[in-house]
């Protein structure tokens, strides 16, 4: 296959990574309007969980629980006092992310650690290695799980109700506090799962989260807040754009091009790809 054609699956696999890291954010940012800068550190927590367990598969549910619990604690201890003040949560969670990074440095040391990739993931199909396919599969599974949760479970439907109209949901008897808690748990847990997957392709160290956080936010912004299909399309689009932009230029320029594209896109669709209509003023 030509190098050019190769970039298509590569772009999709980059998109899968973006989707995986952004999936949790579509929950916490999208639903609750919480800009969680510590999202990257939840990803890091997932990666370190994989490091501690030394095995990828059991690490997936474990990381979900670990990162989810961290998210739960953060939400209960701090974020719930900040609803309606998204910019304050941004700064608050940035402080949290600093502390978590330093904590990781003190617990695990500053140098990167190694998570052995399972033997069954070596090899590949065409240009795509099994580990990339694994990540794509995980992203698809994540999307399906989230979709099923949102549309097929009672809790999920309540979550959606809160996304669409918090006040109305509250007055119709939904305990928004519990929904928020659960949402944060799931969103953070998904970050943990992403962290496990990332051990296959990237470094595992205290700075892990900082490498992915900006990209994750771009995906959510381009996709539209709280929009699952938006996140999927945005991740795929940005992944492909990144892949081809880097192919034709270089990695530095590709990053700039992706950003410019997001800004340009927001000129056309200021609320992202999909948007919830609302009559509320400001």
């Amino acid at each position: 296959m030509s190098a050019f054609a190769n970039q298509l699956p590569i772009g999709l696999s980059i998109g899968a990574v973006l989707l995986l890291i952004a999936l949790g954010l579509t929950f916490t940012f999208g639903q609750m309007g919480v800009i969680n800068m510590a999202h990257g550190e939840f990803i890091m927590a997932g990666a370190y969980t994989a490091f501690l367990l030394g095995d990828l598969v059991p690490a997936l549910p474990a990381a979900f629980l670990v990162a989810g619990t961290m998210g739960l604690i953060l939400e209960r201890a701090a974020i719930r006092h900040f609803y309606g003040r998204p910019l304050d949560t941004l700064l608050l969670t940035w402080g949290v992310s600093l502390v978590l990074q330093q904590l990781a440095r003190d617990l695990f040391g500053a140098p990167n650690v190694q998570v052995p990739a399972p033997a069954w993931l070596s090899g590949g199909v065409g240009i795509l290695p099994y580990n990339r396919l694994f990540i794509m599969g995980l992203a698809v599974a994540g999307v399906v799980a989230v979709w099923a949760y949102l549309t097929r479970t009672r809790l999920g439907r309540r979550t959606q109700a809160v996304v669409q109209n918090r006040r109305l949901a509250a007055t119709s008897g939904i305990d928004t506090g519990r929904v928020d808690m659960l949402t944060f748990f799931v969103g953070s847990g998904l970050a943990g799962v992403a962290g496990v997957a990332l051990t296959l392709i990237g470094p595992v160290g205290p700075a892990l989260g900082t490498y992915y956080i900006v990209d994750a936010f771009l995906v959510v912004v381009a996709g539209g807040l709280g929009q699952l299909r938006g996140a999927v399309l945005a991740a795929a689009g940005l992944g492909l754009l990144n892949s081809y932009a880097e192919f034709w230029s270089d990695a530095s320029l590709a990053k700039v091009i992706v950003l410019a594209a997001v800004i340009a896109f927001l000129q056309v669709r200021p609320q992202g790809m999909f948007v919830l209509r609302s009559r509320a003023l400001t």
Partner: protein, 249 residues
């Protein structure tokens, strides 16, 4: 003065306005009523540029309003209030009014500190009876006072057309009384469109009423004509119109 022709608004496939025609002549006090979801607020949103119609025209004093931005429409002399009043809580009453009166001032005067009280602000203060509260911050006002402040801000803009969205909702009887008087006085020298549910308020103050239903104009006429109309009664679930619209759910 204000003329809507065949205005249509669609939200995600739902026809919020389905070909509304409405003419409000100069100097009139017009009431808009209708059950929930009839499209009353949407109609005001269309006039003020908050919502863009998919078809139809909105003309005001010779200007086509469709496609203009909100602040441009305000500058043409169309002002509005909102269902839930929005005043700036961190500013004082007088600062709120001054801000509303300000858009006609030359830009560079913005950089100066406010000194004294301009004529428009003083007039708005007097009309709304908020003189005593002038230096208080808007955040401490009661619900009724906020509504008056909002109407005052509207007056300070010196608009030619006022659009009031449920100005007496949630007010006590006394407050409603005062608002009604205020409204009557305003209507003396302005064109006013009021969205309102309160039938008693309607009877006392309305001259002409337009009934909206499912995005269309159902009936138009005097209060008595309208409440006697069988279609209106039917719309309000077969009950007498006066009962149905007398209380908000």
């Amino acid at each position: 003065m204000l003329e809507l022709r065949d205005v249509q608004v669609v939200f995600d496939g739902f026809r919020a306005l389905d070909g509304v025609n409405l003419t409000v002549p100069d100097g009139e006090l017009r009431f808009l009523i209708g059950p929930n979801g009839a499209g009353k607020t949407t109609l005001i949103d269309v006039i003020t540029g908050l919502t863009r119609p998919v078809a139809g025209s909105v003309r005001f004093a010779g200007h086509d309003l469709v496609g203009r931005k909100e602040h441009q429409i305000v500058r043409l002399g169309v002002g509005r209030t909102f269902q839930t009043s929005v005043v700036f809580e961190e500013l004082t009453v007088i600062e709120n009014l001054d801000l509303a009166a300000g858009f006609r001032r030359p830009l560079w005067t913005l950089a100066r500190r406010r000194r004294g009280v301009s004529e428009a602000v003083a007039e708005a203060l007097a009309r709304t009876g908020l003189e005593d509260l002038a230096e208080r911050s808007a955040g401490v006002l009661s619900h009724g006072q906020r509504q008056w402040l909002e109407i005052g801000m509207l007056l300070a803009q010196r608009p030619r057309l006022l659009l009031l969205d449920e100005p007496v909702a949630g007010m006590s009887k006394d407050e409603r009384e005062r608002t009604g008087e205020l409204l009557t006085r305003i209507a003396d020298d302005h064109t006013v469109v009021v969205v309102e549910h309160d039938m008693e308020f309607l009877r006392r103050h309305a001259s002409t009423v337009t009934v909206l239903h499912e995005g269309r104009v159902l009936v138009e006429g005097s209060v008595d004509q309208v409440s006697a109309d069988p279609r209106v009664q039917e719309v309000y679930l077969g009950r007498k119109a006066s009962d149905a619209v007398g209380h908000r759910p």
